[in-house]
Structures are given as C-alpha cells and as structure tokens.
C-alpha cells in the first residue's frame, strides 16, 4: 500500500517521529506490532520494520534514529511525499493478559513503541480503572520521549547511561526526583531496594536491546513475574516468507527441553520472555 507522509519531525538529536496516514490500518493496529516501510531508492531495497509508537484516528506513528543509509533517507522525506508500506505486521502485546499492575520497561529505541501499550492499557482500564502503570525507561544519553509517558502512566522513572545527560528533563520527570546513571536493570534494582517498586501481582511489557531484555527476563523469572517482550530482528521480508528472522523458542507444551523455531515477523515480534532461548540472539 502507498502511504502519505503527514509529518516527519526531528524530536531529539538524531531521533525522528514519522506520522503516516493509513486510515484502515491505523484502526486495527495493536501495541507491539510493527510496520514495514520501503524507501523510494533502488539501492535501499529491503523493507525497514519499525515498531508502531502510536496509532490513532487515521495515522500510524513511528519513532526512529538515524543510524544507517535507510533511516538517513527516511529522515529526508517530507510531508506530502508518498512511500510504500506494509502492515501492521505481527502479533502484538497481549494486553488483556497483563495484570492490573503493569511495568513498562523500555531501553533506547524500544521505548517509544511502549507508549502505544501505555495508552491502550490506560484506555482499557477506563478513567476510574485501578490499573497501575509504571514506566521504567533507560536511555544511553539524554532522554527524549519520557514526557509522553506521563499522560498514561502513574509513575515514570528515567535513567541514562551517561552521567548528567538527563538533566534537566530527568530531574523533573523521575517520580522519585532522583537523577540516575546506569541501565534500566540498575534502575529496577535501585527502585526495589528503595521500596519504590513492589513486584507482586505485576506483569512486564518490555522492548529494547537484546542484552537488556535478557537481563529483564532473568529479573522477572527470579521473581515469578510474567513478561512479554517485543523483539527486533533483521528481516528480509517482514511478512513470513523468507525465514530470515527465525528464532528458537522453548516449546512449553512439550515435556522436557524441546524448542521450536518461530519467526519474529509473524509469530512475534512479541513473545513470552520465558520461552525465549537467548543464546544465539
């Protein structure tokens, strides 16, 4: 399908938010799904899969960093231009299965797609709803998308790997008012130690780099918390034809240590953390 670019905004250093008009698809989009974008250059043939950051009215939003030739080209597209797209693709978060208390845990570019989950969880819970939504967001450098989470989350905690990178925004945003340096797992441990984070009856939705997710998965498993992770993978087609993004998952139905191969693009990108075989990812 062809999609109209509505906006392509530079929202932080090297970070852009793209809004495309896709009336039919926007309505069916689920948090955790992704959309393939195709660039109008013959040398940039492969689809670029991006996690959907939000979908409302007639539009889908994605947030991306300029990291290669494809995203550089994408950043130069202007409102009114038309590109090809395919999606929403894949299986999103099972929000109905999330507990009343939800921890949204994001790292880097895995953070923006969780906003869509935050909004849906808040809407599903209703205005009075007892849902407690806490966002834990880990940045490498200066935070750029954390203020958006405040609209839907009860508490938002931010951490950056770079000292002082997060001021001044962080200081005003972090629900504890503390400026923190480290990874999102450091943040989780610190909050538990401080008594800020009670984990009983909580479930986790997370998106971020593999080492982060692996650590979050172990953290969740030690505490008996269900976690759903939206994974990223290099894809050749993004719709289940090429088998370029197939990963190993524990087969929970089979007795013993059986595993199955599943495609990140169609069976995922959201998988239960306990099923993921991390070695090899």
């Amino acid at each position: 399908m062809n999609v109209n670019i509505v906006k392509n905004e530079n929202i932080a250093d090297g970070i852009f938010r793209l809004t495309v008009s896709v009336p039919e698809q926007a309505r069916g989009a689920q948090a955790g799904q992704f959309i393939n974008l195709y660039l109008p250059d013959a040398d940039l043939l492969l689809p670029r899969p991006f996690g959907i950051t939000d979908a409302y009215d007639d539009v889908i939003e994605i947030v991306y960093a300029v990291i290669g030739a494809g995203t550089e080209r994408l950043s130069r597209l202007k409102a009114g231009e038309v590109i090809r797209a395919l999606g929403p693709n894949g299986t999103g978060f099972d929000l109905a299965a999330a507990e009343r208390k939800v921890l949204l845990i994001g790292g880097g570019l895995g953070i923006p797609p969780l906003l869509f989950a935050a909004r849906k969880l808040r809407e599903n819970a209703g205005p009075e709803g007892g849902a407690k939504i806490t966002a834990l967001l880990g940045f490498r450098d200066r935070p750029y998308y954390s203020s958006e989470f405040r609209a839907y989350c009860d508490r938002v905690f931010v951490i950056s790997e770079k000292r002082n990178a997060s001021l001044p925004e962080n200081a005003s945003l972090d629900s504890t008012g503390v400026e923190r340096t480290g990874t999102v797992v450091d943040l989780m441990n610190a909050l538990v130690a401080e008594g800020e984070l009670a984990v009983t009856g909580t479930s986790i939705l997370a998106c971020g780099p593999i080492p982060m997710l692996r650590a979050v998965g172990e953290w969740a498993s030690e505490r008996g918390i269900r976690a759903q992770f939206s994974l990223e993978a290099r894809m050749g087609c993004g719709y289940g034809a090429c088998v370029g993004c197939s990963i190993e998952l524990r087969d929970l139905e089979s007795a013993g240590a059986g595993t199955v191969k599943q495609k990140v693009c169609t069976n995922g990108p959201v998988f239960d953390a306990e099923r993921i075989v991390w070695d090899g990812l």
Partner: protein, 293 residues
C-alpha cells in the same frame, strides 16, 4: 501465455522462487492460483534449524541471505503447506534439500507418494557448507544423483543449478544426459559483506547468497547459454522485478520464470509480474516464438 512444461499445462509461465513463498502469508495477500505454479521452500527429510542470525543483509541492488534452508521437514510440509496448496488447486513444485544423496533420495521417495506436481532438486544452496561450496558444482555427482532420483519417482525432476561454478553449461548437460526433465537457474551467487566498525562479516554465517536485481544480467547470460545447449525446459530466475525482466528470460530461451526476491520486497510481486508480462506479450509477441538474434 499458456505453456506446456514436463507434461503439465500452466496458465502462464510464472512461478515463485524457492524460499520466497509461504502458502499462508503469500496466499493472504494475492490470488496464488493466478500463477502458473508455486515453488515451495526447500524441504529436507527431517527439520533443519538453519543458520544463526543475522541471516539477511542488504546490498546494492539486492540482498544476501544465509537462511541455510531452515525447514520443518518433509512430513510437516506434506501435512501443512502442501495440503493447503493442493486444496486450493495450485500446481506445486516442491524444492528438495539434502546434505547427501541419501537425504535427497529420502525426500523424493516420500514426495513421490503425494500430490506434488514437480520436484526441484536444490543441489545449489550456497549456505550449507563453508565458503558456499555446493553439491551441484560436481557434474559427476549431479549426474549420479539425477539418475538415482529418476529411478525413485515418476514425477518430473528439475535440477536447480548453481552459478558458483566455472562452467554452468557442463553441469546442465550432465543433468540432461542423466535424465533430468528440466533445469532451473540460477540459485544465488556467493557473496559477503563486512562491518566496517567490527571487522566482522555482517552475516553470522560469514557468506550468503546474493539475489535481487543485481544478479539479473548474470542470470540472463547463464540461462541463454544453457538454453542454447540443452533441449529440456529451463525455468529462469535471478532478479526478476518486472514483467519486462521476466520476458527477457523467456527471450533468452527459458520456458518459464520464477520470481524470488521481488516477492520479499512486495508480497504481491509475482501476480503483478504476471499482469505486466501479459502486456509484454501484447507488445512484443510470444517470446517462445522468438529468439535472441
């Protein structure tokens, strides 16, 4: 655009290339019965896990893959994808994978008992052995395998040839002499990309197979040379993105064509190419009645 091939009639000369088609996912996106046939992903006697990730890299005008023939095994294929395709009345070419003569024979023997219409023997996947070595680089091995398979099945046997050889014509002639009913070419070209920062290959497997429009002139040249030397039908493939590209292969002597990478970039590409090819037939005439002059 009807063609006769190995005793079958196809409504048009377009099929899919192995490893780029999925009955459920492709079937959701276009009318797969509008193709002459579909070719399914390589299937081995037992499930294969394939190669580690990343398996995909972009290149100028194409892509590298090192999927390594991940597949669920022949029994799962028969119960799943094959059943689904035959229920829809689709002509099916099953791509057959194996590490050895015995494995190729096991799959062919099993598929002989099914409704598969044709067997494509993948002796040319560059992602199974280090450096992209292929079974199909040795003409004696190809001839011996072809003879064995022909004794195991009455279904048409098509040998898929590798471009990673000194002279593809010698392999083609060996397969024909051994009784192959058809040939398909080309499989992917061995390629590599290296990450500038880490100094490591981009693909976990080191090398992969290059496909996409970048390989098309290589494929056209090989199809042309092979078609001028063998009498059995050839299915031409390699970087077909448009109906015009498909027509070029038919003009080079191919009886039919397969669309591969284009379908990864646009799921509906095979059926779009059928429509565009029909326009080429109107504009330039039946390519099977023409030849390169």
């Amino acid at each position: 655009m009807k063609i006769q091939i190995c005793g079958m009639e196809w409504k048009n000369p377009v099929t899919t290339a192995a490893g780029t088609f999925n009955a459920r996912e492709s079937g959701r996106r276009y009318d797969i019965t509008a193709l002459g046939a579909v070719t399914t992903k390589g299937v081995a006697p037992e499930p294969w896990p394939g190669n580690p990730l990343p398996r995909i890299a972009e290149t100028y005008g194409g892509m590298l893959n090192s999927v390594g023939l991940e597949n669920p095994g022949v029994e799962a294929f028969i119960a799943g994808e094959l059943a689904e395709l035959k229920a829809r009345g689709v002509t099916v070419i099953a791509n057959v994978a194996g590490h050895s003569e015995a494995e190729f024979c096991a799959v062919v023997e099993r598929l002989d008992e099914t409704a598969v219409d044709m067997l494509e023997i993948n002796v040319s996947c560059p992602n199974l052995y280090e450096g992209g070595a292929v079974f199909g680089a040795d003409e004696a091995a190809v001839a011996k395998l072809t003879r064995k398979l022909k004794r195991l099945t009455g279904k048409p046997v098509m040998i898929k040839l590798s471009p990673n050889v000194t002279d593809i014509v010698r392999i083609a002639e060996a397969a024909e002499a051994a009784g192959a009913d058809a040939l398909s070419l080309i499989n992917t070209l061995v390629g590599m990309r290296i990450d500038l920062r880490t100094g490591r290959p981009v693909l976990a497997n080191g090398t992969g197979g290059l496909s996409g429009p970048a390989v098309k002139p290589v494929a056209v040249a090989m199809v042309y040379r092979v078609c001028s030397r063998v009498k059995i039908p050839v299915i031409g493939m390699g970087g077909i993105m448009t109906g015009g590209d498909a027509y070029e292969f038919l003009l080079a002597g191919a009886t039919a064509v397969a669309v591969g990478t284009a379908a990864l970039l646009d799921p509906e590409a095979p059926v779009r190419i059928v429509h565009e090819l029909a326009e080429c037939y109107e504009q330039y005439g039946d390519p099977h009645k023409r030849k390169v002059v």
